[in-house]
Structure formats: C-alpha cells, structure tokens
Symmetry: C2
C-alpha cells in the first residue's frame, strides 16, 4: 500500500541544512498495524506528512496503492487525502469556530454525504470516543484530551482505508488511551491499515510492527505480537 | 503559597451547565512539588488556569502568597503572572511569527531586562532543554516536542518562584521527558514551587505529593517519596 524509496526532506535555513529525513526506504502492506517511534525531532511527523500526501519530499519516490504520488497535481493529492486517508494531526488542526460535531462532519461534507446522514455518523463517531455530551462545544470549550478525541473521531468518520495518527494519545490519560487504542485495533481487525506515531511503549504494544526513526533515518524495523 | 477555598467554575451552555470545577478546597505550601492527575476532562487545566491567574472562578476564593486574587484588577493579575509565575501551557501558546529565542525572551522583555542579557539567558534556557541548535526556528519549523520544550524554556527563563506546567512532557519521548523532569527537580531543590499536571505515572513519581481530580473535585491527595 505504501512504498517509500530513498525519501529525503531537507530544509535550508540560511547557510545550514536540516535533514529532517535523510533517506528513508520502506514498505507497508495493506492491513498492517505499524507504530513509528523515535525521539523528539527525529523525523516522525515529517515522515507521516509525506505518507499522508500533505508534504512533498525533497527527493526520492513514493507510491500509494500503486500510484506514484510525486507525479500528481495538488488537486489529485487533495482528492486522495480526502477519499482514502484519515489523519490525526499532532496538533489536532480543528476548525476553531465550529463545533465538535461540525468538525467531525467535515470529511463527509467533502464526500458529498447528505446533512442528515452526516449528523448521524459524526454523532456516532463522537460517541465512540466518549464525547457524546460535548458535540456542541467549540475547540476552545473542550479540554486538551477532548480536542484530541474530536480529531480522532474526524479521522475515522469516513471509514478510510488508511489511518495515519500522529501521537493520538498524547493528551489522554491511561484509561482513555486504552479505549482509543481498542477502537483502532477494532478497525484494524476489520481490515484498515493503521500507522501511528507514538512515544509511549504501552501504545506501541497494540501494533504488529515497530519502526524506530533517528536523525531522519530508519534505525530499527521489527515485527511483534500485538497486545 | 496557594490557598483555594470552595472554588467552582461553571460554564453555561444554552440550558445545560458544565461544572468544570465543582468545589475545590486545597493548599499548596512554598517549596512543594505537586503532581495533579485525573482523566481527560476532569478539570485539571481549569484548576491550573485559576491558580495561574489566567481565569477567574465562578465562586470561591483564592489567595496567592497571602494576596486575595479575587479582589485584584486585570492589571494587578497580569503583573503577578509576569513577575512570579512561569506557565507551561497544554497547547504551548507560542507566538507563531517569532523565533524560539524571541519566544523564550518574552518574560524578560516584560521584566525590563537588557537585550544583551535577554539573548544570553534565553539561549542558555534553550540549551538546557536541548534546543541550542534550533534558536532561530519559528514554531512551524519545529517538531511538536521541540515546541513544547520552547514553552518550557520560556516558563523557566525568568527564574519564577512558582512553575505551573500543564502536561509538560505530553509531546516528548521517554529520554527527553526524563531530562525535562530532572531539570524541574533541580529547580525544586533550589526552592522553587512546582505544580504540574500529568497523565503519566512515570512523571508523577518525581513529585512529593499527588492530587487526583475527578469531575471537578479533588478525589485523592497523598504524599509520596519523590524519585
Ligand atoms: N469554555 C468552556 N465552555 C464549556 N465547557 C468547558 C469550557 N472549557 C472547558 N470546559 C469543560 O470543562 C471540563 C474540564 O476541562 P479541563 O480543560 O479542565 O479538563 P482537563 O482535566 O485539563 O482535561 P485534559 O486532560 O483532556 O486536558 C471539560 O469537560 C470541558 O469540556
Ligand atoms: N519547516 C521546517 N524548517 C526547518 N526545520 C524543520 C521544519 N520542520 C521540521 N524541522 C526540523 O526537522 C526535524 C524533524 O521534525 P519532525 O516534526 O518530523 O520531528 P518528530 O519526530 O515528529 O518530533 P516530535 O516527537 O517532537 O514531534 C526537527 O529537528 C525539526 O526541527
Ligand atoms: Mg512530531
Ligand atoms: Mg487539560
């Protein structure tokens, strides 16, 4: 499903270069559950943004479901993102002036789903992450962990084939984290591919494969029995 | 140092009321190291915002270093915040268009410190959190955990008497978290009062007292031997 070849991402700052990704080559098959770990600044979010078609590499090639992404236009990329990928951003990226329900409905608006059906599915997604009583709150009227859960509900509501989650439990207490991980595991068993970034070993245990990133390179790539 | 009496914070949403804090009474003495824990949405950030003079309670009284905060004007509160408290926000609250160095200098600008001295102290604070090579990056050019560390450096740079940190290691890997906690512990041993919100038991172990919040109330309050 995901094939990266010699992917580099370099930022030029004045006369220095920051090698956010320094040559990553890896493949992730349909139906895998992968955890990406690594220290702060090692390149995890940069990698996720390239896989999620939100950013282009400086060099190297990327195929998603057989299509070479580097050859696509901005519109084609947006189409792929909206129809195939559910993304939980590290900083949530919620719309500030709309309610939790409206934020979660957004992918369904893109998909042309009717208003009645959108409300029903968004309310159900919020219920699944324990926010049934917060549907009409705007992001500033929600706690940090509640905002994160709205971002998670939004990523799941359109039943995407691929879920990319950047630290989806970062703002959650252990009990709520376990509920979210159980939900992701349920989706995985139903056939969805899940790639998540986490710095918590307890969360990584739910995955079947762990990739460790350091200084923009893949340092470890191992299989494990998921929890 | 901190004395809260029957503190309530109620939000009115249409015809429902959200009791973010439902009557909190507690005292924290000078020089304590307290960890506040509790599930997502339990009221921790609301409590921190009231203690940090960023928000007023709906009812109840709050004394900081003997002064009753409820009687102060907006200007007096701003003065106390800038001169006595270092705050690490759950969502960092960095200025988007200024560099890491300038963000960290901000409390020193308020304190009227000379430009040369500000640069020196801000650079030193960034060094302490491992960001010596990122001083000229703006927040969007930093990883999530790097942004969090800029927020931490900013809270420490003016050597405040009270540090309030809302989930200061939420975006950090274990190794970086331990470095940040060691730094906070060092400041504590030098006499600074530290109150931090965390959902990670490993982080709470550095504190000498743990307060557990649930549904806007204090459910547990226990002493422990810090790590
Ligand atoms: N402006 C607001 N209007 C309405 N409700 C609010 C508002 N701000 C917070 N709340 C509610 O108050 C409760 C407590 O919020 P708070 O941010 O203190 O939680 P928290 O313990 O910090 O959670 P987390 O661990 O997720 O950060 C939450 O249920 C939240 O929905
Ligand atoms: N726009 C940019 N310009 C310059 N450098 C950048 C930019 N974006 C990211 N970087 C740098 O690239 C490196 C990798 O960033 P990335 O966000 O991928 O890290 P990360 O592994 O997600 O870290 P964290 O765990 O802290 O979220 C960091 O050192 C960061 O400073
Ligand atoms: Mg990141
Ligand atoms: Mg909070």
């Amino acid at each position: 499903l995901i094939k990266l070849e010699a992917i580099r991402k370099t930022y030029v700052m004045g006369d220095t270069e920051v090698h956010a990704l320094a040559g990553v080559t890896l493949e992730i098959a349909h139906g895998e559950f992968v955890a990406i770990m690594g220290s702060s600044g090692s390149g995890k979010s940069t990698l996720m943004n390239i896989v999620g078609c939100l950013d282009r590499p400086t060099s190297g090639r990327y195929w998603l479901a057989g299509d070479e992404i580097s050859r696509m236009s901005v519109n084609e990329l947006a189409e792929i993102r909206n129809s195939q990928i559910g993304f939980v951003f590290q900083n949530f990226n919620l719309l500030a002036r709309t309610t939790a329900l409206e934020n979660v409905e957004l992918p369904l608006v893109y998909a042309g789903v009717s208003a009645k059906e959108r409300h029903r599915r968004a309310a159900q997604a919020l219920e699944k992450v324990g926010l049934g009583t917060r549907t009409d709150h705007t992001p500033s009227q929600l706690s940090g962990g509640q905002q994160q859960r709205v971002a998670i509900a939004r990523a799941l509501v359109s039943a995407p084939k691929l879920i990319l989650a950047d630290e989806p439990t970062g703002a959650l207490d252990s009990k709520t984290s376990v509920e979210v991980m159980a939900l992701l595991q349920e989706l995985w068993k139903a056939g969805i591919t899940v790639v998540l970034v986490t710095h918590e070993p307890d969360v990584a245990e739910f995955a079947a494969r762990v990739i460790v990133v350091r200084d923009g390179l893949v340092k470890e790539d191992r299989r494990q029995t998921p929890k």
